[in-house]
Subunit: 375 residues, 2 copies
């Protein structure tokens, strides 16, 4: 399959907002015993519940490795879920899947960012990551969607959120981190975002959530609910290490206008917990050298902001926490046209992320383009 | 994904002729060291040449097992070829892939026949075959094509040829073989063909080619070139064990009319050779118990009839045989609107088949249906 040598902006493509109509959502089946406790069985139960929740609203495709294919098919047996075989290193479709872009004619293309496991050999979470770096390409091939590849530029889908109208929100902690694109200035990175996502303005939050092992992905901290309106993870507890992060983000959001000149409306979303893995939970993770250690004294980066918008629905994590009900109420308020579905997210959090991290939406396209392989 | 509980005939779908427009062609990458000599490397070279020949005319998707994915991608590097990961047992897309059917609105569905490796434990060619039995399902899922499944009814795509106008040609040697559907009468099998392929008349040739390890697949012996007109493998040598087979088939074709009441025009296609594997070639095959033995004294079932019709092209095997030129001339004569491309087929023949056996065309569909997973 050919790689496009141009950029989405030059070709008239842009990253749509997550609430624009989806064709389907992609996921990857978890298997790593050094990341998911008890050989990933509890995580698989959690992922299956997420897939089935999404499948009420739109189709889901789950990528599973050969050894897990039969099990995945059995656990994901649902008329609206298909399981296909793709070799992967871990299960974060948001970061390893393609970023789909669309044009005004309803055509869809995909961006295949270079992926280095959130930091490569300088703080990344595992090695090797070559299967994961190939996931976007394979998904685009399966869908016969033309592909842009950014060799030499590392980015994960979880580190960006857009309003579909020219503004992107990201974090300095992640995008300016030396373990992503150390050869590039802030301005050069902005230029890449402009050319590939077709945005006009970059909103830089200083940090993401405390202890987020992705180096502060915005999708675990702050997200759009509509143009000009965001949810921000929030604590009023001055002793919480998130406090300064929340205030710094609020400062940016209150003093910056978006690409359309709008001031931001910011809804505060409580942070669950503080949440910690139990000793038992940590003991279930295979202690393989070179991968992320699990320690019951290390606070988990739990967040209700880490949800997925699907066609007419919101799929959000619950934690068995007293703040679950508040989070659900806030989501219902800011998404009055959507049905809010809370799905247990603790097992996904134990692996380092949540529902938004393990999903990647594929926008709906006009019917003309998809059927012919040869273009 | 859901399985359709009806039949193609009841739903208004029929098996189109191979010359009707294709969306693409499917292949499977060869790997079995007990079938393909020298760890399948020469066969891979041959398959890649076939894929690239087809890719001049239409898209090709090649299914490769995880362990061979990188190699397959490298050997099939071509703008019109995609490689996807599917676990398989062997590499015969004609027989393990779906049989695609279409309706008058240009919609496409697929038939997922039960597959038992050409005879199951009663003369089949390998065990287990569960990956191969799943290939059709997986391909249909990847393409989001609705699926019919014939549990309890075994059939391979290579055992049938249709004219797209109500007539099917098959062989008694294969379809009435006790190792396929021993519980069913000839009439019950005809009824299955009628209901799934939407045909009106079955032409039963007594046999396929001598020593064809598929139990006489028609696609190695006799094929349509247009409605009412066929190519039949032929020898004038009375001592050739194919002689009685050819004459028996000719007798049927000369005395039978098709579903439209037409008499058949039969073109004789010479049989190459006789061809035999060399001792060296046989020695390169891993002698695994339970799989097909290779013996230089056993005549190979080489045939020029085993070609694929693609959009505006004919992809046909050559054997380095004096009759290659005759075969090419005949194909050019009977397909005046197509470009005839001869591709070396000996390595494929050594594995038990040829170009038609290792390919499966997917008909073009109208643009409306393919993009949405959830129907």
């Amino acid at each position: 399959m050919q790689v496009l040598k141009t950029t989405p902006r030059a070709d008239g493509f842009r990253l749509p907002a997550e609430w624009e109509p989806h064709a389907q959502t992609w996921m990857v089946w978890p298997i790593r015993p050094d990341n998911w406790r008890l050989n990933a069985v509890p995580a698989q139960v959690a992922f299956a519940a997420v897939a089935k929740a999404i499948a009420r609203f739109e189709g889901v495709t789950v990528c599973a490795s050969e050894a897990e294919l039969s099990n995945a098919r059995a656990m994901l047996n649902h008329a609206n879920i298909r399981v296909i075989e793709i070799a992967t290193d871990d299960a974060w479709a948001r970061d390893t899947g393609p970023t789909f872009v669309t044009n005004n004619q309803g055509e869809v293309r995909g961006i295949d960012w270079e992926f280095n496991a959130w930091g490569g050999l300088n703080g990344g979470l595992y090695w090797p990551w070559k299967n994961d770096d190939a996931v976007a390409k394979i998904i685009l091939e399966i869908e016969n969607v033309p592909r842009y590849r950014t060799d030499g530029f590392v980015l994960e889908g979880g580190s960006i959120h857009v309003d579909g109208e020219g503004t992107i929100i990201t974090t300095e902690e992640c995008l300016l981190n030396k373990n992503r694109n150390p050869h590039m200035s802030r301005e050069a990175i902005e230029e890449m975002l402009r050319n590939y996502l077709n945005i006009e303005k970059v909103i830089w939050l200083p940090h993401g959530l405390f202890n987020d092992e992705t180096d502060g992905h915005v999708d675990n901290f702050c997200c759009y609910v509509k143009p000009g309106e965001v949810l921000l993870a929030w604590t009023d507890d001055k002793n919480d290490p998130n406090s300064s992060r929340c205030h710094a983000a609020m400062q940016v959001l209150e003093t910056t206008r978006d690409a359309k000149g709008r001031k931001f409306i910011v809804h505060k979303m409580p942070i669950p917990g503080p949440l910690y893995a139990t000793a038992d939970e940590c003991a279930g993770v295979a202690p393989v050298a070179g991968t992320q250690l699990r320690d019951p004294s290390v606070r988990l980066a739990g967040s209700y902001v880490n949800f997925l918008i699907v066609n007419r629905g919101i799929i959000a994590p619950s934690f068995g926490d007293p703040k679950d009900a508040d989070a659900e109420a806030i989501l219902k308020k800011v998404f009055p046209q959507h049905e809010v579905v809370m799905v247990p997210g603790r097992e996904i959090l134990l692996g380092g992320g949540n529902i938004h991290c393990i999903t990647q939406q594929q926008p709906q396209q006009q019917p003309a383009a998809a059927t012919v392989l040869a273009k």
